[in-house]
Structures are given as C-alpha cells and as structure tokens.
C-alpha cells in the first residue's frame, strides 16, 4: 500500500465546501432552474376533506389566453395506465381519482408558459362533489366505519406489509407489534402501576425552498430535476410508474434549500413526470409556502403508556400503544410507525415490554418523515411519563433514570444489544450544564421557575445501502460521486473529509459530484441520520479501493515499494501523457436481521443508536401563562465528530426546530380545513425565540462500527427536547401538560385548572 501522510482531516471544522457560492447567492437549487420550452404547472386543489368527485369543470381555465393545457386524472391515465405511487403503499393517485381524501388534495393542473397565467386559470376551475363524512382524529379513525381507502394496497418492496394486502374496511395501514416477556404478569406483580396518555400535534417541515420538481421527457428518456432527498428512490419509482428500465430515467439534484425529511420518496415527481410525458415538454411545478402544508407533514399521534414500577425504582414492565395520524396517504408513515414504535419504551432496560404501534389513515394532509422519524413524538410520552413516576414515588429524576437506562451490551426492547450508546454520559452532561445538583430558586410569587431533563433513543432505518465512487483524474485530483443530498447538513464537506483522510489529501481539494443517477451510484436516501454512517463507510471503502489500485499500478509499473510517486506521474508513465483514471468503488449495507413478525425480536434491529439528552430551564408568568425558555441544553452522542462545527450546528439547528414543534407549531383544522397554512399564522422559530442560554454539545465517544468512529447526528437533539421543556414547566407550575404544543394558552389553562378556577371549556372533570 502507498504510505499515507497523516493530514488531519478528521476532527477538523472544515468550512462547507460550497461556502462562497452560498454567501454570494450563487449556489444551485432546483428553485431557479428553467429549461427551454418549459411549462409551469399550477394546481387546483380540493376544498373538501372527503368527497366523491362528480365533475370537474375546466372550460373557463382552458379559455384563458396562454393556457397550454388543463389536466385531470383522465388525461394522466392516457400515458400512465395505473397512476398510483408511494414507498409503502401504492395508494396515492397522481391527481385525485374519483375521490378526494383531504382538503387541499390536487385535483387538476393548468399548464402555461407563464406561471401567472397558469395560476389565474387554475383559479377558474370548479368541481362538484358528493361530500362524504370525514375522519380526522387518529383514535376515532382506528375503529371508524368511515374508510379513507376502500382497500389497502401495499407496495411489493415492503415484505412486512404484505399481510395487509387487499384488507378492506379499515384505516389501519400497519399494525406493528413488539412483545418481550409478559407485561400483564409483571403489572400484577409490580408495586405500582402508572398509565398516562399524551398527544402530539400535526406540524410541517417548512423548508425555505418550497417543494419543486421539473420533468423533461425527450428521446425516450425522462430527466427529473428535483429538490429531493432521495434521487435513487425517485428513479426506481418513476421507472416503475412508467414501466421503463431504470436507465431511461435520470434524476438530478443540486443543493436543497432544506429538507428535514419532507423531500423524501415521491412528492411532485410523479405529477411532473406524468405531465411532461403527456405534453412532451419540460414541466415545472413549484409550490408556494401555503401549498407546502398539503404536501407532507409530521405525524400527530396519541400515545398511551403504562408502566409497572417497584419500590426500589426498577421499571419492570411497560406497555405502549401509539396511534399515528398518517393522513390520507401512507407515504413512509408505516415505517415511522414501526421504527418509532420499536423504541417507544424509551432508552430503558425493561424486562417486560409490549408495544402496539398503528399507522392510521385519516382525511388530513399526508404525514411522513420529519427529523426524528417519530422518535420525538414517542419520547414526548415516555419522558414525561418518567418524570410523573419519579414525582409520584419521590425518586430523584436523574437517579431514577440512571437506574433504568440501558447500559452497554444490554438488550433493548427489540432484543438487540445496545452498543456505543452514551445515554448516561449525555444525561450527566446535561445535568451538569443545568447545574442540576446546585440549589435552584423556583420562585414563590407570580413568576415561577422550573427545570427539566429528558433522554431519548432512536433506531436507524435498516437495512439500507450506500454506494460511492472515488475517481482520481489524470493529474491526481479527486472527484467523489455520491447520491447523498447536501440539504444544509454539510454532507459534501464531511464526505470530502473522509476521502481526503484516506487518500492523504486536503478535504478542500476534493470535488463532490452532486446526485445525478446517470453518474452517481445508488444511495437509499439522505434520511434518518444515516449518511455519515452508511455513505461515510461506502466512501471510506471506495477511497481504500483507490489505494489498492494505486498499489497495483505501482507494481504494474515496476516501481519499488513505497516509492511515493505521485499518482499523476504513475498515470503519465502508464499512458504516456496526462490521461486515465483510478476509480475506486465502495458499497455498504449493515448487518440486519428481520424482526420476528409476532414479537418484533431481533438481534440486529439497527446499525447504531441515536442518542440525545436535553435539558431546559423555564420561567413562567403564572397570571398569563407566558413562558420564557431561559436555558436550553442539548447533548448528543455523535461518535467521533468528523467535522465538530458541523455536528454542533446539527445539534443546535435540530434543537431550535424541535423547540418550534414543542412551543408554537401546530396545524389547526376546523371541519377538516387547515386554518393556519401560511407563515403568517403558522409560527416557526425566529431569532427572537432563541433561548437566552443555548448550549449544544456532544459527548466524547466512539461508534466502533462507524467511519473513523463517527455516527449520524442530524436528529439526535430533537428526540427528547419536548419532554425536557414539558418537565421544566411541570417543575415550575406543578402540573404536567400532556398535549403538544406547549402554548401560553395551554399553560394558562393548566394553571387555572390546578388552582381550582378552570376556564369554562376545561371544567369537565
């Protein structure tokens, strides 16, 4: 092997490779892209949450000067005979097909060269409906006679959904179960049993670059330019929809203006693909901020958690029942249901666990992945529940957790042993930053103070594959070909650091080729904190393959061992001029064992564990319910931080985002209609919402199976942040809120109720 100079790319806060382009406003986004002859599509949407379509009148729209075409599902069907898509279920029509299942569902599209013309014409379309009763709440939908879909249609790619095929008369799209030990016997034997129910609200990703896709069919091929986190999946699913081989579909993704799990799987891609095929022109659809609320959302859920606890503080049994509000189309909801389900008993070592996690269709906008894949909703329940138990039994909140936290090598509820998961260390670091063991003044007048902490666990979607290509050109400079999408998390930079470390280069000198499925190899998707671990490993393997090939070339050229002749010289010797390549490839799929379908038990449920602990200190005006987050602490286990600044930014950015989902963000529905779908009414965090003291750190640790000891960390600080704040509020006012978000109003209502002066509508028990 060629001797390497240690260059120190790992553990270095390399500035983002694209920094200059971003501050100059020159970075490429699909948002800006225009193609010659391109048409803009504007969507006409349903006004009812559940209805049969009797007729759609497009005549006025067609009459508008400049309108190229108005399209409904009947037109789509002329080019795509079965126009249904989705990663888990083939349940979503390209445009509404005889029925609308949520208010805001696309029913028709107007195409025009001028987007303003298309927008105006779309406003002239009318539809007549036969209204059906709608079901919006997940608890009601789980047993309702009102069915969002007549029949379940699982995609063939998900073996664990096949038992649902053809099932009728239900809204339950996945019934995940995990059984360990015997909870009922353990409850009966336990000294104490506690049961609580918690709820999370529907929220939205709100990327600043709204959803946008362009499809361009020509010469028998389909090219998509799309703001997607999963170009490989887009190609596979579009090829399936078209009935074409994968090599006739090309998917290109530049930088993304934020994704957060929203821009995964199929969003606008099926629609623009169908439209371009229909009219044989490039078609672009860009959503407005308001329309984003109808694309994909974060699951609302209802979680009932029951625990058996002994006097010595040991949790002996836990039963979890979670109903996930998946909205009208399954998207990746069944995976959220399963993945968040299997860690829903928390990061605790409990011998008897029973989990039931149900994906439920409702007549709301679809829900999918959002930064944490359901883990934050689960932790909201189990970590508030943990504090409630500790308070009831007068246990110290940290010591109670410590006594039950999963330790190295112990089996998690799925039976998978826990390795390299620094729960306790992260919790202790949070406690330290909160000065937990020092006296704390809670106040005794109008202003009350409280503090809380929480610990979270997340499993990683598995098994998933990443493939990477490292290419040394004739002059020895390096290109890295990967399907990982840089949506702001800094993956280009981190992957360049990994290549550079192996090859003895500077990360800054590596060029990262952005996803283009004609050029870059397969990657399952940029999601679920998987890229650093999976793609990072594939990149490391590809770079090591390059080293082997350099070694082979040296032997072929008869060079003495360790000659250290530069690659450019070696290639010049071989080809007689500056020419040729050295191409290394690497692919990675972690070990995985399918869980037992009855018990959910498996020795390998996840390639690594997401670990985050959070703490909060709050100040509450008890006369108004106004809350101030004085201090917010997040500590994660990132393994070895390849780029320390990028890790801290992920921790901090994810914490603020989750603070939004905790305090303000809430999609409010009335009669199935979204009432606050714009940035004017749906409030995401701004600079003024930043906590006075804001601490974001990672513990010293190592993920032994990860590239250079690293693991993913894009979601870790989201997991337990909501319960940290909820527990701090309870510490201040003496009452636990059970429903997110924790608004001033909900805090005020809780205080009034506790004081025996409930507001009229809360005076029901």
């Amino acid at each position: 092997m060629v001797a390497l100079m240690p260059v120190g790319n790992i553990g270095r806060s390399v500035p983002r490779l694209e920094s200059r382009a971003k501050v100059m406003g020159q970075a490429e986004y699909t948002h800006h892209l225009r193609l010659p002859g391109m048409l803009y599509g504007k969507i006409f949407r349903s006004t009812l949450p559940h209805a049969l379509i009797k007729s759609v009148d497009t005549s006025a729209a067609k009459a508008v000067e400049g309108v190229f075409r108005v399209v409904t599902i009947d037109d789509i069907r002329t080019v795509i005979p079965h126009p249904y898509y989705g990663p888990a279920f083939h349940d979503q029509p390209v445009l509404a097909d005889g029925k609308v299942r949520f208010a805001g569902e696309p029913v028709a599209v107007v195409l025009a060269s001028d987007p303003r013309v298309a927008e105006y014409a779309a406003s002239l379309i009318t539809a007549e409906y036969e209204e059906l009763p709608a079901v919006l709440d997940e608890v009601e939908a789980a047993t309702s006679d009102i069915c969002v879909h007549d029949e379940l249609k699982p995609a063939a790619t998900f073996p664990d959904l096949q038992h649902l095929k053809g099932r009728r008369g239900t809204n339950v799209a996945l019934d995940y179960r995990l059984v360990r030990g015997n909870v009922e016997e353990a409850f009966a034997a336990a000294d104490h049993v506690f049961e609580h129910t918690f709820r999370c609200q529907q929220a939205m990703h709100t990327p600043m670059e709204p959803f946008v896709s362009i499809a361009d069919v020509r010469d028998g091929r389909m090219t998509l330019h799309t703001a997607s986190q999963g170009p490989s999946f887009v190609r596979i699913e579009m090829a399936r929809l078209l009935g074409w081989p994968e090599n006739r579909v090309r998917v290109k993704v530049p930088h993304l203006g934020g994704g957060f799990g929203g821009k995964l799987y199929i969003k606008l891609e099926a629609l623009v693909t169908s439209l371009s095929l229909l009219v044989q022109r490039p078609v672009k659809i860009s959503l407005t901020m308001e329309e984003q609320f109808f694309m994909v959302t974060k699951h609302a859920c209802t979680f009932t958690i029951k625990s058996g606890v002994n006097n010595d503080g040991k949790v002996v049994a836990r039963k979890c029942r979670i109903l996930w509000n998946g909205g009208a189309y399954a998207d990746i909801g069944p995976r959220v249901t399963q993945k968040a389900g299997f860690t829903s008993a928390g990061p605790y070592d409990i011998d008897n666990v029973e989990i039931e996690s149900l994906a439920v269709y409702t007549n709301r906008p679809p829900a999918g992945a959002l930064r944490g894949f359901g883990a934050p909703q689960a932790a909201w329940a189990y970590e508030c529940h943990t504090d409630l138990i500790a308070e009831a039994l007068n246990f110290d909140k940290i010591e109670f957790r410590r006594q039950n936290l999963l330790q190295e090598g112990r089996p998690q509820a799925s039976g998978t042993p826990v390795h390299d998961a620094a729960f306790e260390k992260a919790m202790d670091q949070v406690a330290d930053r909160l000065d937990w063991h020092k006296p704390f003044d809670r106040g005794n007048g109008r202003i009350r103070r409280g503090r809380g902490l929480a610990v979270g666990i997340k499993g990683i979607t598995s098994p998933t594959t990443s493939v990477a290509i490292v290419n040394l050109y004739g002059d020895g400079s390096c290109g890295l070909y990967i399907g990982t999408v840089d949506m702001g998390q800094g993956s280009d930079t981190v992957m360049a650091q990994i290549v550079a470390e192996v090859l003895g280069l500077d990360a800054e000198a590596v060029h990262v080729i952005h996803p283009d499925t004609d050029v870059t190899p397969y990657d399952m998707g940029t999601l679920g904190s998987r890229s650093t671990f999976h793609m990072g490993t594939a990149v490391r393997l590809a770079a090591e393959d390059v080293l082997r090939k350099i070694d082979d070339l040296a032997k072929e050229l008869g060079l003495p061992p360790n000659s250290n002749l530069p690659v450019s010289e070696m290639l010049r010797k071989k080809y007689g001029m500056q020419a040729g390549n050295i191409i290394g490839t690497g692919s990675f799929i972690p070990d995985y064992k399918k869980p037992d379908p009855e018990t959910g038990q498996t020795p390998k449920a996840t390639p690594f564990w997401g670990v985050g602990a959070n703490g909060a200190e709050v100040e509450i005006d008890t006369e108004t319910g106004e809350i101030k987050i004085v201090k917010l602490v997040s500590v994660v286990d990132a393994g070895v931080a390849i780029n320390p600044r990028a890790v801290r930014q992920q921790v901090s950015g994810a914490a603020i985002m989750q603070m939004g989902f905790t305090m303000t963000e809430n999609m409010v529905f009335r009669d199935g209609q979204l009432t606050n779908g714009s940035l004017a009414d749906y409030k995401i965090p701004s600079l003024l919402d930043m906590p006075e003291q804001f601490v974001n750190e990672y513990v010293e640790s190592r993920q032994h199976s990860g590239p250079f000891g690293a693991k993913g960390t894009g979601e870790s600080s989201t997991i337990a942040l909501s319960p940290a704040i909820g527990n701090a509020i309870a510490d201040a006012i003496g009452v636990h809120l059970t429903d997110l978000p924790l608004t001033q109003e909900s805090i005020f209502r809780a205080i009034q109720k506790k004081n025996g002066t409930p507001l009229p509508e809360d005076d029901n028990d």
């Binding site: 983002r16 100059m24 800006h32 603020i656 600079l687 003024l688």
Partner: protein, 170 residues
C-alpha cells in the same frame, strides 16, 4: 392581462431596461427576466426575508414590491454587494463563522445584516436579533448568524476591509 411597460433602472450599478407586466413583482422580474439567483421567493408574503434586496438604499421584500415601482431607482441585490474579487465583510464573516446550512435564506440575511451595520455600526446582540427578525432560517443557524454579524461589525470598525459600496448612500 394588461400590457407590459418598459422600465429603466440601475441594477447593481449598471443601467438596465426591462419590459414588465403591471402585476409582476420585483422578485419575479429579477429571477425570471434578469436571471439573478440570489434573491429567492419563499413565503411570498414578506415574512421570511429570502427575497430581500435594496431599492434606493433601503431593504425591501421583493416578493411584495411591484416591479414597475423600481422605474428610475437604484436596485442592489446580493450579486452587487462585492466587487467579485473580494467578499463583503458580512459575507466573509458568514463563511468564517459558518452562519448558514442550506444557504437558501443566506442572501437575505446578509442584505439585512449589512443594512443593520450601516444603521448601527456596533450593534448589541438584542439589536441584531430585532433587526433581523424579518428573516427566517429553518435550518436555524441563528446563533452563528448573530456571531457573524458581530464579527463583521468588528471588522468594519477596525477598517480592515475596503470601504462599503456607495450604493447605500441613495
């Protein structure tokens, strides 16, 4: 729809004339007709700051500003705040501190931060937060943005960078 009208104005120091429709917004004209990429329409309601540009030296949300209103005005976008060779001190500070993730909102923040430093050359943290309240960053690079503005203020005070573009002295 009504007829287009030709307007003339100065864009990043150079005279331009563009035929625009009465309903056309400034952001539409800049991105669709003039092919500039730095100002971006996101919320379309003047709430997120992604489309911030200067008109006659004052920041505006170009998604709410009719294009025809810039007839005769001086318009400056992120593309016009440096001379190409050297970055503006605010841009430089954003890189050094790492004050962005996805970068979509970044030009808007930089435009507002420059204006802030003209009004308050040595802003307090509170002044920074309040002045930039009309800019949203969903990646939440807020702590770094505040640091970058402070760093840029120190650099400008120390005079370690070239004099600021005169386009702000409208």
């Amino acid at each position: 729809m009504t007829d287009a009208r030709t307007i003339r104005f100065t864009l990043n120091g150079a005279p331009v004339s563009v035929s625009v429709m009465p309903h056309e917004t400034l952001i539409e004209m800049l991105s669709l007709r003039l092919e500039l990429k730095g100002a971006r329409e996101s919320c379309g309601q003047g709430l997120c700051g992604c489309c911030t540009v200067y008109v006659n030296g004052k920041s505006v949300s170009s998604c709410l500003y009719l294009a025809q209103l810039v007839d005769g005005a001086k318009v400056v976008t992120i593309e016009g705040i440096n001379d190409g060779a050297e970055l503006d001190p605010v841009q430089q500070a954003f890189i050094e501190v790492g004050a962005f993730q996805c970068g979509f909102c970044t030009p808007g923040f930089i435009m507002m931060a420059r204006e802030l430093l003209d009004v308050h050359p040595n802003p307090t943290e509170d002044e920074i937060r309040h002045y930039l309240i009309g800019n949203l960053c969903r990646c939440s690079a807020y702590p770094e943005i505040v640091e970058a503005v402070k760093l840029a203020a120190r650099r400008r005070a120390a005079g370690t960078t070239p004099a600021l573009a005169e386009e702000l002295s409208a």
